[in-house]
C-alpha cells in the first residue's frame, strides 16, 4: 500500500509536469521520458555511486542507517574496520579509491570508533598535489588529530608549502588545518607565513589568517604577542568579513587586559554605528538585521572596555540606545542583540536612561511566551540587579513562574538568579527552595553546585544558629558525598570558631544546638561519610561541653557509629579520637571516669586493626588511660581546637641528646644535598632548566651560511576605502617591522626548545615539592552575620491579608513572592507590585491571543499552500514563511490518498497543484528578484499561472526537481524512506 502510494506519487509528478508541457498529454511520452531519466541516473551511478561514493560505501551507510540497535551498528562498523584495515594497506591503491577509504575512516571515527590505523594515510593524502585529494586529507586530519598528536610533525612541512601556494583555495585549506593542528611547539614554523598572508589579495585568505593567528594566540600567547598590532590594522580592512573575524582575537585580547585598547573605543563605536545604519553590504544582513553577529561581538567588546570607565562608557551611550530602539523584537536575532545590549549596559558605567530601557527589554523577555526569551530575561535580570537590586521586584511573579516551570533549564537559571539576589531577609526561603530542588535532581554536577551554593549562602546570611545547623544537616544528609570535603572542614571550623564575633555565649549556643541536632540524626544508617566525620568531631569536641549530656551517653553514641561503619576506616578514626577526647575532658575536669565496656571492646578490636592509623590511635588512647589528670589536661586541653600548635621545626629539644651521642663518638649528620657523589647532577638540573637550547627543533630549511636574514617586511597594503580610521599606537611601527621578520629565524622569546620547566624530573634524586602552604583562615572575611534578625515570613503573611486585588494569582505564589522580594520593602510598594503582577497576567493572555490568531490568519490566506517560500537571499518575509511552508509531497500524498478512496478529486485539484508547481519553481528560480511572496500567493489563489511562471517551471525548478531526483536516487540504492524514518526526507527548513 505504501509502496503504491509512493509510486503514484512519483508518477503523479511526471503526469503533472507533462500535462503542463503539452496539455494534450500522452502517456507514452511520459513513459519514455521516465525511461530515459532512469537510464541516465543508472549510468551516472554505475560509475561512481549515487552521491559520488562507491556502492560499497553507500551500502555501509545504508546498513548502519537501518541498524536497529547500537550493538548491531557496532558490529557493522567493526566489520568495516576489518575490511578497511586490510584494503588500505594494499599496494598501489588508486588515489580516488584511497580518498574514499579516508572518507570511510572519517565516518567510522564519527560513529565513535577508533580509526587510528588509517591516520597515516590521511596524513599522506595531505601531501598530494591535487587539491581535491589534499582537501580530503586536510579534512580527515583536522577531524582525527588533536593538537598534541605525534603525526602532526609530518604535516607541518606540507602546511608550510601550501601556505605559499598560488592557488588561494590551497592556502585556505592549509590555514584551516593550521587552526586545528598547529600546537605551541610548531607555531614558529608557520607564523611568519601566516602573518604575510594577512596582506593576501583574497579576503577569504586574510580572514582565515586572522583566525589562525587568533588560535595561535589562544595556544601560546607569548608566541604571538609581538604581532598584536596586526589585529589593530586588520580592523580597518575594507572587507567586512575580515573586520568581523578580527573582532574575535581582539575580544580575547581585551578580555585579558583592557588598558592598551582604550584608544580603540571610538573606532568600535564608529563601526557599530555604521553597521547599525546598514552601511555594510546587503549580503551581511541576516533576516533583515544588519550584520547582527558583528553587532553582538562589538557589544561584547564594548562591555569590556566600558567596565568601570566613565569616559569610555559615555562614548557608547548613544549608539547602544540607537541599537536598542532599532532592534526588531519579533525575530530571534533581534532579541539576541537586545540581550547583548542589556549585558553591555549592565557592565559599563551605568546610565540611568539606558538602565531604564534595559529594564523594559527585560520586562518584555519575561512576559514572553517563549521559554528561550524567559530564560534570557532571567539571565539579564541577574546581571542588572547587581546595579539596581530593586528591579527584581517588578518581576517577582514572572520569576516565581519560572521557578515552578517544568523546564529544568529555566528552573536552574532562576535558582542562579535567586542565588544572586539573596540577602539576609530572604535567605531562608531561597535556601529551603534550593535544598528541595537539590534533593529532586540526579545530575551530580548540579547537585554539587547547588549544595555548595546552599552552604555559601547559609554561611553568609544565616539568620540564626539553629537554622544554620539545621540547613547544614539537610545539605549534608542529601549531598554529603558530593560536596567538596573542604566544605565539611569549613563547617567544623565554623562551629569551633563561632561566627567570628567575640560573643562566647552565642558560640556555645551554636555548639550545643549542633550537638543536639547531631545526636538526633546520628542513628540514621544512611548518612554520608563526610557528614559523619563532622558529627564525630563535634561530638568529641563539644558533646559534653554544656553538661547536658553525660560522657557515657556521648561515648555510647560514638561507639555505635564506629560499630555501624566498621568498613569505613576514616569514620572509625574520627570516632575513636572523639572517644579519646571525651574521656580526657572528663578526666581533666576531675570527674570519675570509667570506660564503657563497648568502648573497651572497640579499643581491643582496633589495636589489632589492619589499618596502621587506627592501630596507632587505639594505642595512643590506651597510653592515655594510664596517665594522671594533669598530664591528660596538657595533652588534650579543653576546647583548644582553634589554638595554634607550635611546632619546633629545628627539633631543639633533641639538642641534648644529639650532643651526648656525638660525644660518645657518633658520626655527625650530613644533610642529603651536601653528601658527595650525587650532588652534581641534581644541582645542575635544578639551576639551569632554561639554558639548554641545544634541543630546539628547527622547521625552516637550512640557510645559506651568510648569516643574513632576509628581512622582508610584511607588505604594507593600503586600502583605498577604509571603513574607519583606526589609531595605531605610537610604538607600533618598530614592533611590527623588526621582530616580525625575524620571528621564524628564532630570536629569544620565540625560539623553539624543549621546555623543561614544569616537567616532572625522571632522573636524579626526588626534589622536594613545596606544598602550597595551607592557610587556615580563609573563611569569608566579608561574612555578615545576622543573628536574631526578624523573620520576614510572619510579617508578610499578616500584612497580605487585608488587600487582595487579583484573585487569579494564587495565594501561595504571592506569599512566596513576598518572602522572596519583599524582605525590606514597605507595604505600599508591595501593593503596587501586586497590581503590576496582575497587569502582567493580563498582558500575557492578550499576547497569547495574538499568537493564536496569527497562525490561523496565515493559513487561511495561503489556502493552496505555497511550497518552500523560504527565500534564502536578501528577501523580505523570510520570517513569515517559517510557519507557512508545507512540504509539497505531503500535499500530494494526501490528494492521492483521497483519489484512491474513490473520489474524483484529481480534476478539481488540478489547477491548484499546477499553481503549486509553478509557485515552487518561480520561488526556486527567481530567488533574487521575486521578493514578494504575496504575488506568488495571489497566483496560486487564482489558479491561473501566468505564462512566464509556466515556462520557468518547465525548464528547471530546482528545489522540486532536486528533491525528486534525490528521492529516486536513494530509493534506487534501496533506502526506503517510509520504512524507518519518514523524516529523513523532510526538508530541514520545511
Amino acid at each position: 500500500m505504501l509502496l503504491l502510494t509512493l509510486l503514484l506519487r512519483s508518477v503523479g509528478f511526471y503526469f503533472f509536469t507533462s500535462s503542463i508541457q503539452n496539455p494534450e498529454s500522452n502517456n507514452s511520452y511520459t513513459a519514455k521520458l521516465e525511461q530515459l531519466k532512469t537510464i541516465g541516473r543508472e549510468l551516472a551511478m554505475g560509475s561512481q555511486g549515487g552521491f559520488g561514493q562507491s556502492k560499497e560505501f553507500l551500502d555501509l551507510v545504508k546498513s548502519i542507517g537501518e541498524a536497529r540497535s547500537k550493538s548491531e551498528e557496532d558490529r557493522i562498523v567493526l566489520h568495516e574496520i576489518e575490511t578497511l584495515k586490510r584494503r588500505i594497506n594494499e599496494p598501489d591503491i588508486p588515489k580516488r579509491k584511497m580518498k574514499e577509504y579516508i572518507i570511510r575512516l572519517v565516518y567510522i571515527e564519527m560513529l565513535g570508533h577508533d580509526a587510528s590505523f588509517g591516520y597515516i594515510h590521511a596524513v599522506k593524502m595531505t601531501h598530494d598535489d591535487s587539491l581535491l585529494l589534499k582537501r580530503t586529507g586536510y579534512l580527515a586530519v583536522t577531524l582525527f588529530l588533536n593538537e598534541d598528536h605525534d603525526l602532526i610533525i609530518l604535516i607541518v612541512n606540507t602546511i608550510q608549502k601550501d601556505l605559499k601556494s598560488d592557488n588561494f583555495l590551497v592556502v585556505c585549506a592549509a590555514l584551516n588545518a593550521c587552526c586545528k593542528l598547529i600546537n605551541e611547539e610548531t607555531i614558529p614554523a608557520v607564523i611568519q607565513q601566516v602573518v604575510e598572508l594577512l596582506g593576501h589579495q583574497k579576503e577569504a585568505v586574510r580572514k582565515k589568517a586572522v583566525m589562525a593567528l587568533h588560535s595561535f594566540h589562544q595556544r601560546s600567547p607569548s608566541s604571538v604577542n609581538h604581532l598584536i598590532s596586526n589585529f589593530r590594522k586588520k580592523l580597518s580592512d575594507n572587507d567586512p568579513g575580515v573586520m568581523g573575524a578580527t573582532l574575535c582575537p581582539l575580544y580575547d585580547l581585551i578580555a585579558i587586559d583592557v588598558n592598551p585598547y582604550k584608544d580603540l573605543v571610538a573606532s568600535f563605536v564608529n563601526i557599530l554605528k555604521q553597521v547599525a545604519e546598514r552601511r555594510l553590504p546587503k549580503s551581511y544582513d541576516y533576516h533583515q538585521t544588519p550584520a547582527p553577529f558583528i553587532q553582538i561581538k562589538l557589544l561584547k567588546i564594548m562591555a569590556l572596555l566600558g567596565s568601570g570607565d566613565k569616559k569610555s562608557s559615555e562614548q557608547m551611550y548613544t549608539v547602544i540606545g540607537d541599537i536598542m530602539r532599532k532592534s526588531d523584537t519579533a525575530s530571534n536575532i533581534g532579541n539576541a542583540i537586545l540581550f547583548e545590549c542589556v549585558c553591555c549596559i549592565s557592565s559599563i558605567q551605568p546610565s540611568p536612561k539606558l538602565l531604564e530601557t534595559a529594564a523594559d527589554a527585560i520586562a518584555k523577555f519575561l512576559k514572553s511566551d517563549s521559554h528561550n526569551l524567559k530564560y534570557m530575561g532571567i539571565d539579564a535580570l541577574g546581571r542588572l540587579i547587581r546595579i539596581n537590586p530593586d528591579i527584581a521586584e517588578q518581576h517577582q511573579l514572572a520569576v516565581i513562574d519560572c521557578l515552578e516551570d517544568p523546564d529544568d533549564t529555566l528552573k536552574r537559571k532562576t535558582f542562579e538568579l535567586l542565588y544572586k539576589m539573596t540577602k539576609s531577609s530572604n535567605v531562608e526561603v531561597i535556601v529551603d527552595r534550593m535544598i528541595d530542588y537539590m534533593i529532586s535532581i540526579n545530575d551530580s554536577h548540579y547537585k554539587t553546585e547547588t549544595a555548595s551554593r546552599c552552604v555559601e549562602l547559609a554561611e553568609q546570611f544565616a539568620p540564626s544558629n539553629h537554622w544554620f545547623i539545621q540547613t547544614m544537616n539537610k545539605v549534608f544528609q542529601h549531598a554529603g558525598d558530593l560536596v567538596n570535603p573542604k566544605v565539611a572542614h569549613n563547617l567544623m571550623r565554623l562551629i569551633a570558631e563561632g561566627f567570628g564575633e567575640d560573643d562566647d555565649a552565642a558560640d556555645s549556643q551554636l555548639r550545643s544546638s549542633a550537638v543536639e541536632s547531631y545526636l538526633k540524626i546520628v542513628d540514621d544508617p544512611k548518612l554520608p561519610s563526610a557528614f559523619l566525620q563532622v558529627i564525630c568531631w563535634v561530638l568529641g569536641e563539644y558533646g559534653t561541653a554544656d553538661g547536658k549530656y553525660s560522657a557515657s551517653y556521648i561515648s555510647g553514641k560514638l561507639c555505635d557509629v564506629a560499630e555501624a561503619h566498621s568498613s569505613d576506616d576514616i569514620i572509625r578514626a574520627y570516632a575513636v579520637t572523639a572517644l579519646m577526647k571525651v574521656y580526657c575532658f572528663e578526666k581533666s575536669a576531675g570527674r570519675k571516669t570509667s570506660l564503657l565496656p563497648e568502648c573497651q571492646l572497640l579499643l581491643e578490636e582496633l589495636s589489632a586493626s589492619h589499618s596502621s592509623d587506627l592501630q596507632q590511635r587505639a594505642y595512643e588512647f590506651r597510653a592515655i588511660l594510664d596517665l594522671d589528670a594533669n598530664a591528660v589536661e596538657n595533652i588534650m586541653p579543653l576546647d583548644a581546637s582553634c589554638e595554634d600548635i607550635e611546632i619546633d621545626k629545628s627539633l631543639s629539644f633533641l639538642d641534648n641528646y644529639v650532643h651526648k651521642s656525638l660525644e660518645q663518638g657518633a658520626e655527625p649528620y650530613i644533610p642529603e644535598n651536601e653528601r658527595s657523589g650525587t650532588l652534581n647532577i641534581s644541582n645542575i638540573i635544578n639551576r639551569n632548566p632554561y639554558e639548554h637550547p641545544a634541543h630546539s627543533l628547527r622547521f625552516e630549511a637550512y640557510e645559506v651560511p651568510k648569516l643574513v636574514v632576509p628581512t622582508k617586511l610584511s607588505p604594507a597594503v593600503t586600502y583605498p576605502t577604509e571603513l574607519v580610521p583606526v589609531p595605531e599606537p605610537s610604538y607600533q611601527p618598530t614592533v611590527s617591522s623588526g621582530p616580525v621578520s625575524d620571528a621564524g629565524s628564532g630570536s629569544g622569546s620565540t625560539e623553539l626548545r624543549l621546555r623543561l620547566d614544569g616537567v616532572q624530573k625522571k632522573w636524579g634524586k626526588p626534589a622536594y615539592s613545596s606544598a602550597a602552604s595551607s592557610s587556615t583562615s580563609n573563611i569569608d572575611s566579608q561574612r555578615t552575620t545576622v543573628n536574631g534578625a526578624t523573620q520576614p515570613d510572619n510579617v508578610t503573611s499578616k500584612s497580605r491579608e487585608p488587600r487582595q486585588p487579583h484573585v487569579e494569582v494564587s495565594e501561595e505564589k504571592q506569599k512566596l513572592a513576598a518572602s522572596l522580594f519583599g524582605g525590606r520593602t514597605a507595604r505600599p510598594e508591595r501593593k503596587q507590585s501586586g497590581s503590576a503582577a496582575g497587569h502582567s497576567k493580563v498582558s500575557r493572555t492578550t499576547n497569547h491571543g495574538e499568537d493564536k490568531a496569527q497562525p490561523t490568519t496565515v493559513t487561511t490566506a495561503v489556502q493552496p499552500p505555497p511550497p518552500d517560500l523560504l527565500d534564502l537571499g536578501e528577501s523580505s518575509g523570510a520570517a513569515s514563511s517559517y510557519s507557512s511552508t508545507v512540504d509539497p509531497f505531503k500535499q500530494l500524498e494526501g490528494l492521492l490518498d483521497l483519489s484512491q478512496d474513490g473520489h474524483a478529486v484529481t480534476t478539481t485539484t488540478g489547477p491548484d497543484l499546477m499553481s503549486l508547481y509553478s509557485g515552487a519553481s518561480t520561488n526556486g528560480q527567481n530567488q533574487n528578484q521575486n521578493l514578494n511572496p504575496l504575488l506568488n500567493e495571489k497566483d496560486n489563489m487564482n489558479g491561473a499561472p501566468n505564462p512566464s511562471n509556466r515556462t520557468a517551471s518547465l525548464t528547471k525548478g530546482p528545489s522540486l526537481k532536486d528533491a525528486l531526483d534525490k528521492d529516486a536516487l536513494v530509493r534506487q540504492m534501496g533506502v526506503n524512506p517510509t520504512s524507518q524514518n519518514p523524516n529523513l526526507f523532510s526538508d530541514l527548513l520545511g
Binding site: L36, K37, G40, L43, F51, Q53, L58, V61, V106, G112, H113, D114, L131, L132, T136, N146, E147, L169, K180, A204, K207, K208, M211, S215, G241, G244, A245, S283, Y284, A291, P292, I296, K300, N332, I333, A336, E340, N372, K374, M376, D407, T409, L410, R412, K413, H445, L872, P958, D962, A963, K966, V970, N981, N983, L984, F985, S986, D987, L988, L989
Partner: protein, 161 residues
Amino acid sequence: MIHFVLLISRQGKVRLTKWYSPYSQKERSKVIRELSGMILTRGPKLCNFVEWRGFKVVYKRYASLYFCMCINQEDNELEVLEIIHHYVEILDRYFGSVCELDLIFNFHKAYYILDEVLIAGELQESSKKTVARLVAAQDSLVEAAKEEAASISNIIAQATK
C-alpha cells in the same frame, strides 16, 4: 567559543561531529551519549538550551535532526541559535531543500561547509553569499575531476528537457 558541534538524529544516531576543543575518543562517546539522553527527551516547548558540566548546549531541531553546539557560560545563547540557523540555511542553499538524507550521504560536504562557517570554534563568516561563493569555488574543482563521469548523464538530462 564553540567547543563542539553535534548533529544527532531523533533516534540518537550521530550524523556529524566536530570538536574544536580537545576530547579523546572515549570522552567524545560519553559526551554524545550524555547529551543525546538529555536533549532528545526534552519536550518541544521548552528552552533550546541545556546546562551541562558547567557549559551550555544550545540545540535546535530541524525535521528529525538535532543541531547542537556547546558554548561557554558567558556566551549569548540566542546568537548561537542563530548561528545554527545560519549554517542550516547555507546547507539548504547548497543542497537545495536540504534533508537529513543529504547529510547522511554527504557528510563530508557538510564538513567542508561547516569549515567555512566556523573556524577554531568561532563564527568566521556571517555572509551566506561569501560562504556559498567559496564552497562553489571549491566544488568547481571537484566538478572538473568528475566531468567524465557526469557527461553522459548530462547529455541525457539535456535530451529529456
